[in-house]
Symmetry: C4
Subunit: 191 residues, 4 copies
Amino acid sequence: MSKSRLEAFSDGVIAIVITIMVLELRPPAGGDWDALRELAHEFSLYVLSFAFVGIYWNNHHHMLHAAERVNGAILWANLHLLFWLSLVPFATRWMGENHFSELPTAVYGAVMLASAIAYALLQTAIVRHHGPQSRLQLAVGNDRKGKGSIAAYLAAVGLAFVSPWLSIALYVLVALMWLVPDRRIESRLPH
Amino acid sequence: MSKSRLEAFSDGVIAIVITIMVLELRPPAGGDWDALRELAHEFSLYVLSFAFVGIYWNNHHHMLHAAERVNGAILWANLHLLFWLSLVPFATRWMGENHFSELPTAVYGAVMLASAIAYALLQTAIVRHHGPQSRLQLAVGNDRKGKGSIAAYLAAVGLAFVSPWLSIALYVLVALMWLVPDRRIESRLPH
Amino acid sequence: MSKSRLEAFSDGVIAIVITIMVLELRPPAGGDWDALRELAHEFSLYVLSFAFVGIYWNNHHHMLHAAERVNGAILWANLHLLFWLSLVPFATRWMGENHFSELPTAVYGAVMLASAIAYALLQTAIVRHHGPQSRLQLAVGNDRKGKGSIAAYLAAVGLAFVSPWLSIALYVLVALMWLVPDRRIESRLPH
Amino acid sequence: MSKSRLEAFSDGVIAIVITIMVLELRPPAGGDWDALRELAHEFSLYVLSFAFVGIYWNNHHHMLHAAERVNGAILWANLHLLFWLSLVPFATRWMGENHFSELPTAVYGAVMLASAIAYALLQTAIVRHHGPQSRLQLAVGNDRKGKGSIAAYLAAVGLAFVSPWLSIALYVLVALMWLVPDRRIESRLPH
C-alpha cells in the first residue's frame, strides 16, 4: 500500500491544527500598547504550540520519508497520533484563558504526553512492518530522545500541581531539544 | 481520468471535517476539576465522531487504492459523500449541546445513515466503472459489513425516540466493527 | 511550469471554502422539532452553496486535466477565481441571516457572477497558453454554457430587487444545468 | 530529501491562512445598503491581505519549483515563514477592528516585515543548499525586489505613527510591485 495518501492526509490535518491556533489569538479590545502587552502571554504560548506541532510535522516527514510502505496498523496508529495533535489548540486555549493555572497546565502536558506516546507507537508500527534490519530501525536506534521526551512530559504533568512554571520550562526545554531535525534518520538517507 | 485529484480533494475535506470538530470543543469556563469533569461527555462524543470520520477516510483510502480510474459519476458520488461527512461536526455539536436528547441523537444517526448510503453509492459507481470481474468487485463481495451498518443506523434513528442511549450504543458498536481496516480489499492487493 | 501545485493549492482552498460553510450552520437553540424546522431554510441554502462550489471544483478538475502546462498569468487568474469562491460562505451567511431579503440576495448573485467571470478569464488564459488548435479549445468550443451562466447571474442580481425568490430560482436553475459534468471536455479526452 | 511534502504542507497552511480571513469578514447586522457600505473598509483590507498571501504563495511556488532538493535547515526556514504568514489574519482583523489606528497598522506592517525577512532567510537557505552556480542563484541575482520590500515595510512600520494612511499606501505599493510574477526565475526555467 502506498504511503502518499497517508502523508497527504497527515499534512492536511497538521496544517489545519497549526493554523487553527491562529483563530484562538483574539485581537485585543483596544488598539493601544496596553492591549498589545496583555497579548504577550498568549502570543508566547502560541509560539510554543506552533513549535510543538511543527516539530511533529518535521519528524513525521523524516520518519515517513524513511518508510517504504504502510499497512492497516500504521494507518490507525497515524490517525491516533493525529487525534492527540488535534487537541493541541484546545489545550493551548484552555491554558491561555486560565493564565497558566495548575490543572490546565497539566492537561496541556497530558496532550503532549499522549502525542509523544502516539508517535512512539506509530514508529514501532512502521519499524515492525519494515523488519529489524531496516534502514529505519538503524536510524531510530534505541530512541533515547523519544523516551526522554515522554519522561519529561510525565514529570511536567506532575510538576504542574507544584508550580505550573516548572512544567512550562520543561515544555520549552523539550521543544528546544527537538528543534534540531532528527539527524539520526537524515544522516542515513541516500542523497 | 486520473484519480489523484479526487483523492487529494477528499483528503482535504475529510482533514478539515475531522479537525473542525476540535473547534467545537470549547474550553470550560473555569480551570478546576469540576470544569474538566463537565467536559467528559462532550469529549467522549468527540472521540466517537473522530473515529467515525477516521473510519471513512480509511475505507475511502482502501477503496480508491483499488480503483484504477474515475469518471464524472464517481466525482459526483464522491462529492455527495463529502457533503454528508461535512455535516458530522454540526450533528456532533447539536447532540452535545442538548445532552443526548431524543431528536438530536436521531439526527446524528441520520447523518451517519446518509453517509453510509452515500459510501455505498460511491462504491457502486466505482465497481460499475471497473466491471463485474474487477479486483474491486471481488474484494467487496456482497458487502455484508456495509449493509449491516446501514441497517444498524436505520434502527438507531428509530431507537433514539425510545432511548437515546440505545442509539449511542449502536453508533459505538458499528464504529468498533469498522475499526479493523477492510481486510477484504487489503488481502487481495498485490504487495 | 508544472500544474500539480496549482491543482493542490486550488484543492486546498476549495476544500476549506466548502467545509467552512458547515461552521455557518449553527445548531438551533433547543433540541425539538421546532428548532429543526427553523433550520430548514438555512440548510437548503447550505445545500445550494455546496453544490455551487462543488460544480466549480468539478469543472476546474476537468479544465486543468485538459491543460498541459501553466504560466504566471494562469496562476493569477486562478488566484482571482479562488478569491471570489472564498466569498461564498460570507454571502451565504449574510443571505441566510437576513431571510433572503433583497440586497443580500443580490450580493450572493454578485459573488456567483464574479466567480463565473473569473472562471471564464481563467479558461481564456489557459486556452491562450495552449493555442487555438489545442484539445482544450476544441473541447470548450464557443462556451455557450459559461456565457449563459453569466447572463443568468446578471439577470438574477437585477431581479433580486424585484423579487428575491426569482433570483434564487435562477441560482438553482444554473446549478442544475451544471450538475452534469462538462462532457465537452470529458468526451474528448483519451481513456 | 524530496521537496514534495514541503510543498504540500506549505500549500495546506497557506490555503488555510488565505481562507481563514473570510471568517473574519462578519456579515453586517442589517441587510440594507448602509450595512454594506460599512463593510467597504474591511473588504478592501481583506483584498489587500488576500493579495499579500497570494503573492507569497506565487513566489514560494516559483522558488520551490527552481529548487531540486531540501534539507533540515530549509524545512525549518519554511516553517518559520509559515508562522509569520499565519499571523496575517490576526493582524488584518486587529487593524480592521480599530479602523486603521496607529499601533495596529504598525503591527500589520511588522507581520509583513517579518514575513519578508523569513522569505529572504528561506531563499538564502535554499540557495546555499544548491551552490552559488545554481540556476536559483542566477535567477535571484542580488534580489533587489526582496530587499526593497523589506525596506518599504520597515519604513511603513515607522510611518504608521505619523499617519497610518502612509503605511497603507506603502503596503499597497509593495503588493502592486509583486503582482507581476517573478520573471527572474520564470525566464530562466526550461519550458
